[in-house]
């Protein structure tokens, strides 16, 4: 599958951020992007269609990014999905928790097109989604 066709799920509760991430991903060549506003909608989206990559914010209600990450990692079907946290959360304790729960990459805002392109490509190669 071409990078541009890889299905990507973006979970962020701020509409302006969802639009910004979608725009950055489009600039990086990823066109097959679905965006939702919280972890509950994220779970529903995962159950409806397969995704190659999940990008999630941390602070959301009712299910936050960390709870969503744990859900994905413990899920019988979705546990191996590439999962990237994109957040402004830079407290050491929180970052360590995300890494220990199996996040594949952790990006601190602000994002640039160069940053998102290289980091996502690295994750997808490590996960053997891209060759």
């Amino acid at each position: 599958m071409e990078a541009r066709d890889l299905p990507i799920l973006v979970v962020d509760d701020v509409q302006a951020m969802r639009a910004q991430i979608r725009s950055l991903l489009a600039g990086a060549g990823y066109k097959n992007v679905i965006t939702v506003g919280n972890g509950v909608e994220g779970k529903e989206a995962l159950d409806k269609a397969p995704f190659s990559l999940v990008i999630a914010d941390w602070h959301m209600t009712p299910i936050n990014g960390m709870e969503f990450l744990k859900y994905v990692r413990q899920h019988a079907v979705h546990s191996q999905i590439a999962f990237v946290m994109i957040t402004a959360e830079d407290a050491k304790e929180q970052v360590i928790e995300a890494i220990s729960q199996g996040v594949d990459d952790y990006l601190i805002k602000p994002l640039t097109i160069e940053k998102i392109t290289s980091r996502i490509e690295n994750v997808l190669r490590r996960k053997k989604v891209l060759t």
Binding site: V14, H59, A88, D90, I108
Partner: protein, 146 residues
């Protein structure tokens, strides 16, 4: 969508977050001890404002929202009524300024805002300081050690 349009949409959305934060502070004031758990709601809203402001390069809003976020985080574990009251008062200052900056985001930081920033930093220090932060390089190192 242009950067200006994105900022406009962001301001609209974030005004809603600021309104939630304001309602939360009012509820906390009604009963300082019993409602102090609501500081976490304020924290979440300040966090959302900071994250998006950071992404869009609105540095003044980012700086004050971060201080508000850290004070609210400390407030959730504040033990005494004077400490809680101090947090509420500082958070009103932070919120009022964030709301002003959302409406006037192109303005430079004024003398008055610098004084506020200094006062918020002092409050935060008295409350025990901010949590330990990591840079992107630190995160990369942590990920490599995984």
């Amino acid at each position: 969508m242009s950067h200006i349009e994105k900022i406009h949409d962001f301001i609209q959305e974030l005004n809603g977050f600021a309104a939630t934060a304001e309602e939360t502070l009012k509820k906390i004031e009604e009963n300082l001890e019993q409602n102090k758990g609501l500081f976490s709601v304020f924290y979440e809203r300040m966090f959302a404002i900071r994250g998006t402001a950071q992404q869009l390069g609105l540095d003044n809003i980012t700086q004050i929202a971060r201080l508000g976020e850290e004070i609210a985080h400390n407030a959730t574990i504040a033990q005494t009524r004077p400490q809680i009251r101090k947090c509420v008062s500082s958070l009103w200052d932070a919120l009022t300024t964030v709301k002003y900056l959302l409406e006037h985001h192109t303005e430079e930081t004024s003398e008055e805002q610098n004084i506020l920033i200094h006062r918020l930093e002092n409050t935060l220090r008295v409350l025990g300081g901010s949590r330990e932060k990591v840079s992107s390089d630190d995160i990369d190192a942590l990920l490599k050690r995984k």
